[in-house]
Symmetry: C2
Subunit: 270 residues, 2 copies
Amino acid sequence: MDNRPIGVFDSGLGGLTAVKQIMEKFPDESVVYFGDTGRVPYGTRSPETILRYTRDDINFIRGFDVKMIIIACGTASSVSLPTVKYENEGIPITGVVDATVYKAVRKTKNKKIGIIGTTGTIKSHSYDDGIAAYDSAIKIYKRDCPLFVPLVENGHFDTPVARLVIEEYLEDIKAAGVDTLILGCTHYPLLKKAIGEYMGAHVTLIDPCAEVVEYLKKKLGRDMLHGADRDAEQYRYFVSDDPAGFAERGGIFLEREINGQVEKIDIEKY
Amino acid sequence: MDNRPIGVFDSGLGGLTAVKQIMEKFPDESVVYFGDTGRVPYGTRSPETILRYTRDDINFIRGFDVKMIIIACGTASSVSLPTVKYENEGIPITGVVDATVYKAVRKTKNKKIGIIGTTGTIKSHSYDDGIAAYDSAIKIYKRDCPLFVPLVENGHFDTPVARLVIEEYLEDIKAAGVDTLILGCTHYPLLKKAIGEYMGAHVTLIDPCAEVVEYLKKKLGRDMLHGADRDAEQYRYFVSDDPAGFAERGGIFLEREINGQVEKIDIEKY
């Protein structure tokens, strides 16, 4: 038994898709979530800035005596994970990349994998490097999709605008004939229906937040992940901008109402 | 003669449209520009955060002994101007709202004005309050257009996607029969062609950055604005994230190459 909470953070609201998975798969676990809504998005920033922000986020989350940290943000995972792992040796830190790569290389049959993500994620080569390390014969087709995050954040999931942008971004990846597509950003699973229809039913879409929770189950075992006898509040949320906006829009990602207190913190102090 | 530079700042690159106007209308002036690219966008953040960021920006710009400060950012102008004016009494600070309102109320004939901007700008009521103070008989039709900034930043000026989003956002304003439309965000003038085609030739589109520069000319007179015998570099640019990206993409807004050094600073220290 380890009653300490799991720490999860993201550049904004998207990481709540990981919290949703934890709620469903490990209903006894406590979660401390931080969404850096005052500095979102990370995906368009430079690697130096992304690393600085990731360090702040981890310093904040570590203040809660968490038993592990999940970096739900594809950009922060891709750019900063090796550095922050090295800097925080005492605590397990898991990004979304490893688990996603693990699943993708097992799913592909024709050895053609597509990767979509923010500009920061795509430029980092994190997913390609991971895939190449498993099997260098796998061909990779990738593209950054900078309009997907604003589309999702403005409720464009399956609209004519969303479908037009999906076609613009995915045309070449579809033409290449991939059978597996990594949705390398927490926001993209909300476009899953429209992306799936465009790509076709034969293409497997991989959601990193779902994979990272699966991976934890395998890697850490059931015991460590069952925290009974909790005293504290089970779900705590922190943000770096307006808590009301988070409570209002977070439900889209959590697929239920935000069930816990949302507090604003000054992340630049961490 | 006052040889001190004019300070201009914006949440990102859009404020370069004001610098462009200064270059064209006051070719002898020096400019210090700050683009808060590490914390862009402002338009979706809470009023408290927008004010805090605006204060940092002004503290940074004041370090250059500027003779005046132009807040090119529609959101920062709308949310923070009264407060920062009060806090910085010694130096003239001009936002984009006053000059834009001045022009709009003189342009409208049917007394129906449309206002579009970021969510922060629209929620602030800055333009409507200004218009109502001039003439309370003017009817206002407004809408936030949160996808316009990402569209412009990704090169969608006159594409099918841009036109579809323009229709979504402007449908009601067009139906209301406005004859004047305020493009209340530095990015929107880059959509001018497509917006103009959708609204029709009888609708006057007003670009706040152009108006603020016109307004300076009238308000401050020619003498103060002619700074001859400059020693220093004429155009200096500062950003809070990757200078290379700024130099690369800034030309879209400046409508010429970035002609000066771009330096990165840590805005959170100001």
